[in-house]
Symmetry: C2
Subunit: 356 residues, 2 copies
DNA sequence: AAGATAAAATGAATCGATTCAATATGGCGA
DNA sequence: TCGCCATATTGAATCGATTCATTTTATCTT
């Protein structure tokens, strides 16, 4: 090497100069080679090799082109939620299939703090956003739309009619779960709910449930209560335990429930994950499912079919949800403000009539 | 609509003009508000609201700043591999924890076609890359380095000494698996290997194995053969079946193996996934594990502890691998060209001495 | 009230490419 | 040999922000 420039990485302009062509031509060599005479093309490539240029920097390209070729998926859970939570990964699996089919990448965005998430959403390099958060959804979707990005929330939450969202009918899902167990003859119920508000857990009163900030869990309880109440049960006596993502809060709830002289014979778990953790706890304690206790899950994740016993559950149309979410972003054709899917009861081995 | 400007989305410059300040000041309002007098700040915010400006476009920012705040993870498998394959998601879970701790996002990049992947790698908006592909790694890492991005391959492959890579000692892993089973007294072995070359499956000869393009599977076979050979077995009689990610090729191999008059009593599976699928097949066929047949997995994914019986396996230090991969990208301090980890035998319920 | 100092605001340069209207070149027919 | 057309090439404008050396304004001392 002779004397030396400070070795900054070379730009397209440098290549153009080195090859003795205009920058426009150099650009064409990399993006529309058919427009450039072969001889020139080779000269440019050679020059590029010489000065150590390895193709256009995507940042420049993207600024000009405006498209990133990736959709973002955002959540207020930690990032590993996408890989560790069975429901999240079932949805992500579908989303990623749809993205693959469209040649689009996926960006995972996360922040515990909702405010930070808002900033991250504002600065994510994506063509559209799937909001995978069950709190603060309204703010976040609004934020995304402000940015002019197509976006969908994966829960209605308390958003108004015009923010695009996909959800299942949670009240009806709650009804189906309760109906199934009531039909089997159960009368002693307990509910293992997902979070009503961020990061809290423990036994909840009806008033607290009504005040929930997360509508998903509240609605599922409402649905179940409605049915059980209609069957003549006093729902104020049905214990509802709020649980968070961790095993601990679930086991604690079970400890409490089964310390009772007359423990429940039917458990409505608001997610398959909760139900699966409960199944482990039952196995440990020697409580037989479904002989001693019946349990029903929610979501219909693939893993729920493989537990022992296999889990009866209220299934969401996960495949369809994933597809529609991506479609809403990649083909923002018609106005699709909100889609409400139905759930489906899948009866497997974890529910049966109570012992006589 | 009335007369009108074409309603392009407003830029920072427009806000500056509307608020009657310089563009520099407008920029500061959004990024270094403490440098701007409160009154001016408000004026700018107001102007922004009026013309419908919702914060700086990340594209412009990024071009200037040079950083994207996301690391890329690339693979030649379809995107859903990250969510569906137990090993991939175990690693991804660790990678994502590390990213979270650093406030970095994750971009998932994939293409079946290696050539396209190369293009995608060239145009991914990321600060660094983890190469999660077991073929063509050498080309791809080279490509990433050309771009000037920090990068790590998650397998040595046939890369040369100076491309950064993390891997486990596959030969030694293969040895450990064989040793464990041989020590139990097994003499009739079969190997269920992961792919030797892209997209192929079926029974393989020693010559074909030696010619494998994927070194991971080849090395594991070599390690196992070495031990078994030293114990006096004729390895040319040990059936080695190449399997691909799908259930079908694995079941087909098992069909063939157990159609034999003297089927193997010890199966070395080169991944926990393969072993788990085999476990299902055994359960279906009424073949008891470990009484009728022993099977050992590879990887040490969390799911392998929950199968029935729980899976004996050669565990990789998944946590450490994920951490180091991210560290290599986010803190490119010292020169860390390659790290070779050891595997660890974890004995669980799927292996036992053969029937007498 | 002048001077020194700190705080606030300016504006042009820069990041790295793509695009497109305008111009240059070459081949071909008459 | 001239003109015409198709094909190649040019060069300047553009994408949207951040940065930083300067200039302007405000605050404080004595």
């Amino acid at each position: 090497m002779a004397a030396g420039k400070p070795a900054k990485s070379p730009r397209l302009a440098d290549v153009a100069e080195a090859a003795g062509v205009s920058q426009g031509t150099a650009s064409n060599v990399f993006n529309h080679p058919e427009l450039v005479r072969e001889e020139v093309r080779e000269r440019v490539h050679e020059a590029a090799k010489n000065i150590g240029y390895s193709g256009p920097d995507p940042r420049g390209r993207m600024l000009r082109a405006g498209m990133v070729n990736a959709i973002g998926v955002a959540t207020t859970q930690p990032l590993n939620y996408f890989f560790d939570d069975p429901y999240a990964r079932a949805i992500m699996s579908e989303i990623s299939k749809a993205c693959d089919a469209n040649g689009s990448g996926i960006s995972l965005i996360s922040t515990k703090n909702e405010q930070l998430l808002s900033w991250n959403i504002g600065s994510a390099l994506v063509d559209g956003l799937v909001l995978f958060c069950f709190t603060g959804t309204e703010t976040l979707v609004a934020r995304a739309r402000e940015r002019g990005l197509p976006s969908v929330a994966l829960a209605f939450g308390n958003t108004n009619e015009d923010v695009p969202a996909i959800d299942v009918d949670n009240v009806e899902g709650g009804r189906k779960a309760a109906t199934h167990l009531a039909n089997l003859g159960h009368t002693r119920f307990a509910i293992l709910a997902i979070e009503f508000t961020d990061g809290s857990s423990g036994r909840r009163t009806a008033a607290e449930i009504a005040a929930a900030t997360h509508f998903t869990s509240r609605d599922r309880v409402f649905g179940s209560f409605e049915v059980l109440s209609a069957r003549g049960l006093d729902v104020s006596n049905i214990p509802v335990f709020e649980t968070s993502e961790d095993t601990g809060s679930i086991r604690l709830a079970l400890d409490t429930l089964f310390a009772d002289r007359a423990p429940p014979t039917a458990i409505i778990a608001q997610s398959d994950l909760i139900a699966m953790i409960a199944l482990d706890w039952f196995a440990e304690k020697g409580i037989r499912v479904p002989q001693d206790v019946s349990i029903i899950g929610f979501d219909g994740v693939p893993e729920a079919a493989e537990t022992s016993p296999p889990l009866t559950t209220i299934a969401q149309p996960i495949v369809e949800i994933g597809r529609r979410a991506v479609a809403a972003i990649l083909e923002p054709t018609g106005e699709m403000p909100r889609i409400l899917f139905d759930t489906e009861l899948i009866v497997r081995g974890s529910t049966a009539p109570p012992k006589a």
